[in-house]
Amino acid sequence: MIEIKNVSKSYVKGKKSVENLNLEIKNGEIFGFLGPNGAGKTTTIRMITGILNIDEGDILIDGKSIKREPLEAKKNFGFVPDSPDMFLKLKGIEYLMFMADVYDVPQNKRKEKIEELTKKFGIYNELNNQIQSYSHGMRQKIVICGALLSEPKNWILDEPMTGLDPKSSYDLKEMMREHARSGKTVFFSTHILEVAEKLCDRVGIINKGKLVFVGTFDEMKQKFKENASLEDLFLEITEK
């Protein structure tokens, strides 16, 4: 469970990049975070994950405050950043083992978990190569594997579908659904509306630092025009 309470952040004095944000992502829920480029999506995710300091308010991950107990809070989530170009000089397996050491994955689970995840994404045979030699999609996949290795209760993914082919993004979506079904939380940002519509239990739309809508997709449609296309809806909401 992720609770965002009255959170504000400004980079420049007097200009708030995120303003008074309140959100609660419940257990067993897939939550899609939508908004145009530059709306405050990345800032919000950076605050949840402890990369940015929070000016006002607080964020709790499974009850642990990222402000006051950062290490405890960070143990409770797995994060997939938007750029997968990480640790390019390490071999795939070295990267995964490093992540396992960082997140304290027990010895007996490592092999099983790594094989399960990498086989699912079809990168098992590449594990002995340096990540540098991977394509964009494969890099994305290995980063996802690294984040999911410790079976975190909360998944936080920043634009996870970018660069994945339909088969891989299908696999990832299935994994997200499975995760939510087992009572855990998925929070991800995207700009592809179709993905959000089919996948999310609820969506939040952020524009110019403010949350302009939270609810199910159907509620969103009802609240705005009945039969409008997704693009129109999105445009209408964000252009207000």
């Binding site: 145009p36 480029n37 964009h136 999609g137 660069g163 339909p166 592809i192 445009l235």
Partner: protein
Amino acid sequence: MITVEHITKKFVRNKNKKEREEFYADNDITFEANDGEIIGILGPNGAGKTTLLRMIAGILEPTTGKISFDGMNYKDNEIEIKQNIAYLSGNTKIYDTLSTYELLKMCCDIYGVDKKNSEKRIKEITKILGMEQFLYNKIANLSTGQTQKVNLARCLVHNPKYYILDEATTGLDIISSQIILNFIKEERDKGKTILYSTHYMEEAENICNRVIMINKGKMIKTGTPEEIKRDTNTTNLRDAFFTLIGGVSVEE
């Protein structure tokens, strides 16, 4: 019209430290793209889309096969063809210390657009793509969406006849990609020939007149989105895609 006949591209790669193996990035690809048509090139990562488009753009030489643009081919008319194509691939910043305007100006120089026309053309493109706000900003400081607009803009200064667009909307939000898609549709209506590769099936369904699906270097299906849906008994292109590549492990 772009005609592609029996194009094959063979690479040699190291299987392991000692052995080498040949593999076909593209194998016997044939199609025609008519004037006023958008052809979608679809397929999983590593299917051979990018290699195919690179060959058509004249960057890579095909191992065998023929490519021609309204009768012109790379052997005899390389410069004429390149003078008329727009090739866009990925979303990368180049010459990021220049401003958008400087970059466009430079492209005009390289394409030989004369001074008077180049100013006019840059103004026109700026308006179509909505780049007024950042025309004089350094490219390094632009956002993802803005960068991709600049990338598209630099391919347009010479008013090309053939478009070869490789994942032009990857990573863009809906507003930015909508502008680009609208532009592509308008160009089609002007009778231009457009090749368009994408991961977004919905996008392909929306804008493409015809679609070519590639898997492991081979063409596995071609036709209008409607035909493909009908043939595979599906209601949308995404499901059709899965039916066609048949749950085969895609990464291999």
